[in-house]
């Protein structure tokens, strides 16, 4: 029997995995979003409203929230087309903070006091979602659309000139990512059974990005490794007491110096595929 302590950690890993995947999907088109906690917040609040106030079953509520957040993602994706690199990062950061302060002032759902009344979900439920979406991303990674995403990231001009609709691809990635982040939010709300605007701050967005960079930003499975490390490593450094986050930061820097692409990368997978087919 797993201790509640580990069950709690694993739930955090599952939720962080989904958040990291949402960053990964946008990053696949060469765009960096620092505002995905905003989409997560939208998902958390919307799902909670649907289950607590409207009595909608959780799974249906998650699907509705994902669709709504996805639509918002598409809307955000359009102005994002005009921005690149650090400017896009700043704009998405602004979006995330906007969402957070919206809920801070949204008294109908508790405002700064937060919102509660959700029913706790099992670890199995969280991981069913996390695994399903990880699998979905893994399948997509072998599809035509994923090649198109990568082409857009590598050279947008050349991509357009072989007939790829770069606008739809980039906006679509934003929409899909926003939907995934919303599911992470809905699960977060029903795991902690209490949410407040501070749960969806800038630091949360940074956690998502860190997990992707740490685990490997060129393969979806990297998000899994990154989420595991980001949650588990500080726990296992507990013997260092107050120094653990400093040591964790040091390990992160060391890792970026030695292996910039993250722990997993595509050539690693290719290597195994070669061996399998050989």
């Amino acid at each position: 029997m797993m201790s509640t302590y580990y069950a709690g950690l694993l739930a955090d890993v599952g939720i962080l995995l989904l958040g990291a995947l949402s960053v990964y999907i946008i990053l696949a088109t060469g765009q960096l979003s620092l505002g995905n906690a905003g989409f997560m917040g939208i998902g958390a609040y919307l799902t909670s409203y649907l289950t607590v106030t409207m009595g909608v079953p959780l799974t249906l509520a998650l699907v509705i929230a994902a669709a709504a957040s996805g639509a918002i993602g598409v809307i955000i994706g359009f102005p994002a087309l005009r921005l690149r690199g650090i400017y896009l990062a700043m704009a998405t950061l602004g979006f995330g903070e906007m969402v957070r302060s919206f809920f801070l002032n949204f008294d109908a759902m508790g405002g700064a006091g937060g919102f509660h009344g959700m029913r706790h979900v099992s670890l199995g439920y969280i991981w069913t979602w996390a695994a399903a979406i990880l699998l979905l991303v893994a399948i997509l990674e072998h599809s035509q659309i994923w090649l198109e995403l990568r082409a857009v990231r590598d050279d947008e001009t050349a991509a357009a000139l072989v007939g790829l609709d770069t606008t739809t691809i980039k906006v679509g990635a934003f929409g899909f990512a926003a939907a995934v982040a919303a599911i992470a939010g809905g699960l977060f709300a029903h795991h902690h059974v209490y949410i407040e605007p501070g749960n969806f701050s800038f630091e949360r967005s940074i956690d998502f990005v860190l997990a992707v960079i740490l685990g490997g930003s060129t393969v979806g499975a990297g998000a899994l490794v990154g989420a595991l490390l980001l949650v588990m490593l500080p726990e296992h450094l507990r013997f260092l007491a107050d120094w653990r986050f400093a040591v964790f930061g040091g390990l992160l820097i060391a890792m970026l110096l030695v292996r910039r692409q993250g722990i997993l990368d595509r050539s690693l997978f290719r290597f195994f595929e070669f061996r399998r087919s050989a």
Partner: protein
């Protein structure tokens, strides 16, 4: 020529201003089906600008571009590409960490909103898979199929870029200095490749500095200088044209 053949590509009266600079001044040219046409001229003559107008990267200040009689002027690049114009670049532009095979696969034409694009290509679109394999064979790239394209020697990168361009199934192929920086053997390889592509039904418009290469290959030539079309004709006509010699060898006065 007997009768008037419908040109594959027609650029009519193209002028392109950048601020007060007239980069292209009333340029007209046409490429007939299965014809190899060259644009030559000194550096800064406006050759690449002409390509950029044709492929929709620049909107011309005046003038019209027509593909098979249908205006495509300043359409979004991806629609022009889908209408049948593909290009390569003077400074090779391959996709960063893609293998040769992935380059061929990603450029295969497909409809926009189908489930096919979301499933692994191998099962979802075996036709595209087979076409990509044919092009791989045709351009003799099978040996390097799984290599990262950018890690390959320069000459092979050019072939990959051409392979990617023809994967999009164009009617007209634009080649921007296809043999720049190549040795004689590599250039001759590309020359034979271009002839084979033409024989398979493609029209080709190319830019190059290498006069010998262009003269040997093209059916028809246009000569640009400072954004003005100073001459056009068959290679033998161009070779002896005093205006062209003047532009190339510098102005005597």
């Amino acid at each position: 020529m007997t009768g008037k053949q419908q040109p594959r590509l027609e650029a009519a009266g193209i002028t392109k201003m950048f601020g007060g600079i007239r980069a292209l001044n009333d340029i007209s040219l046409e490429v007939l089906p299965k014809q190899i046409v060259g644009i030559i001229g000194p550096n800064g003559a406006g050759k690449t600008t002409t390509f950029n107008v044709i492929t929709g990267a620049y909107r011309p200040s005046t003038g019209e571009v027509r593909l098979d009689g249908k205006a495509v002027t300043a359409e979004p690049s991806h629609l022009i590409a889908r209408a049948g114009i593909s290009r390569t670049f003077q400074n090779i532009r391959l996709f960063g960490d893609m293998t040769v095979w992935e380059h061929l696969l990603v450029a295969q034409p497909h409809s926009d909103f189908t489930l096919r694009r979301l499933l692994p290509t191998r099962w979802a679109d075996p036709q595209a898979f087979r076409r990509a394999e044919e092009i791989l064979e045709f351009l003799k790239l099978a040996d390097v199929k799984d290599r990262i394209a950018r890690s390959l020697p320069y000459g092979i990168q050019r072939r990959v870029e051409i392979a990617r361009a023809i994967s999009a199934r164009p009617k007209l192929l634009l080649l921007d200095e296809p043999v720049a920086g190549m040795n004689h053997d590599e250039a001759d390889d590309i020359r034979r490749l271009i002839l084979t592509l033409r024989d398979s039904g493609l029209s080709i418009l190319l830019i190059d500095h290498d006069m010998a290469f262009v003269m040997n290959l093209c059916d028809y030539l246009y000569v640009l200088d400072f954004g003005v079309m100073i001459a056009q004709g068959r290679p033998d006509q161009i070779r002896s044209n005093p205006v062209v010699l003047d532009a190339y060898l510098g102005h005597a006065t």
